[in-house]
Amino acid sequence: MNRYEPVAALGRGRSPVYRMDPRSKIAAAAALGVVTLKGGPYVLALASLGVAAMVVSARLSFRRLYGASKPALPFICIIFLLHLLFTEGSPLLNIALGPLKVTAVGFTEGGLLAWRFALLLQAGALLTMTTPLPELTSGIERLLRPIRVKGISSQDLALMVSLALRFLPTLQEEMESLKEAQLARGADFAAKGLRGRVRALSGLALPLSLAVFRRCDHLVEAMYARGYDGGPRTGLKGDLTLSAGDRIVIILSVAAGIACFVL
């Protein structure tokens, strides 16, 4: 089964969340990010309820969300433990491991931070799970349009993003086959210790980079052959249009973001 099958395509049309303009979803996710990082426990609780409501209305399963954020779980745990053990304050429990102690402040601080990260992750997962990748890139393209970098249009930036996403699985496949070829000639990728593993992986880096460059040459040629000329392009969908609902979401998001800084 393919890991890269766009999940969002599956739920298209099932719920209003999927039909929202990508820009309003990006704005909402960004606002949620600001709110979670700046807000206190009550705000966090409110935001969590909001996210949960979105998950329910998008008919996403919580198990899926958990699966998407699983890789970040160790990171969140480490953040929590670091705060728990290294924050100064009155000890909460009478366990002292040298300079380490568990404090009440540490517990709440660590807990809040872990909560923040978890919520951010859920917001990101919610965005990518309810927005097909092409829509996401066209949203990014539209949002970047006012920012003109010399010689690079926002369309080119969006094209770069979509090419990167397009070639991720291809390059991963290439890496696997390089790995197999080297295993067949006695390379040891299961080597114990950091040094052995770094040595084994560095043997892959050069051939993989060469393969990437070769692919790039061919890809550029194929793009020119299909009429690419660096100029403006049109796409399957017309320019994005904001519905009344989208406008409300954007206004609320911006307001929430500003409120966090002002209050």
Binding site: N2, P6, T137, S162, E221, T234
Partner: protein, 301 residues
């Protein structure tokens, strides 16, 4: 009409000529197979047809437009669609429909028109049900069909295919070849570079290249009959052409020039309506089944 006039090309100042005085005219609706051993200049020639390479000397003119004229390049590339050997390196979209939309998008067509073209092109190659999928999930043959759809969406007059089947398994290969027949029915000119003689057999015209020159140009029957000459060039004639050639060498009065199993069966059937009961039945498939073991006998000598 594509006309190539006295085309010279070399990749570096001091290297030998990759193309050494190529002159060739290809009319609309033709199906031309471009064959030759590896390194004969097929790919180099093919890349001149849409201005990816510009001649060192000579001209390549597509419907009156010279590929040297950069202002006409966009129109030339719309008319001359190109498919490369490795399907993975020509897919740019995150989904099938996004990929097919790339070409029309570069033509700056309105979205409604693009949607229409994408739908038709995907349907034409039979990939419409997978429009939302990631191209990575397709097989090699399907990726080539997707590349073909990407070109169809640009409404081309000519399609240039550079060894499109060389990395495919037999089933995928025959699918891609069938699609080429479909192109022909739409009146689209096909220029197919290949070193598989069987792939070339379905063309109207075979152009043989060697060392940057055109060494033969004619109907498949006139080319594939010259078995010894093809072998000297390092090309393998279609097995059936070789069989007939060997039969002739042995003194069987059979016409050369048949290079598909059906044609060869016909030729053999006409040869003798008598002694061999199997051949006498005359049906293509029956005759074929009789040829198969014989084929083995001849080659084992």
């Amino acid at each position: 009409m594509i006309s190539i006039e006295e085309l010279l090309y070399r990749y570096a100042e001091d290297s030998t000529l990759a193309l050494d005085g190529i002159s060739l005219a290809i009319g609309e609706g033709e199906h031309v197979a471009l064959v030759g051993p590896n390194g004969c200049g097929k790919t180099t020639l093919v890349k001149h047809l849409n201005g990816l390479l510009v001649p060192l000397a000579g001209n390549v003119i597509i419907d009156g437009m010279n590929t040297r004229d950069r202002t006409r390049l966009a129109e030339i590339r719309r008319r001359v669609g190109m498919i490369f050997q490795n399907p993975d390196n020509q897919i740019v979209g995150m989904t099938l429909e996004e990929d097919v939309a790339f070409g029309p998008g570069n033509l700056r067509l309105p979205p409604v028109e693009i949607r229409d073209r994408v739908d038709k092109a995907l349907a034409a190659v039979g990939l419409a049900p997978y429009r939302d999928r990631h191209p990575h999930t397709l097989s090699g043959g399907e990726k080539q069909l997707l590349a073909l759809a990407g070109i169809l969406a640009m409404d081309p007059r000519y399609t240039v295919l550079d060894e499109p089947t060389s990395s495919l398994d037999p089933a995928a290969r025959s699918k891609v070849l069938a699609m080429m027949t479909g192109l022909k029915l739409r009146g689209i000119t096909i220029i197919h570079a290949t070193h598989t003689m069987e792939d070339a057999a379905s063309a109207d015209r075979v152009v043989v290249m060697d060392k940057g020159r055109i060494v033969a140009d004619g109907a498949p029957s006139s080319i594939f009959g010259r078995v010894e000459w093809l072998k000297d060039l390092g090309l393998a004639p279609p097995p059936i052409a070789e069989l007939l050639w060997r039969l002739r060498e042995r003194g069987v009065a059979i016409e050369p020039g048949a290079f598909t199993i059906e044609e060869a069966a016909e030729a053999l059937a006409q040869l003798s309506g008598s002694s061999d009961g199997c051949v006498a039945t005359g049906g293509g498939s029956m005759a074929t089944s009789c040829i198969a073991p014989e084929d083995r006998d001849w080659t084992h000598e």
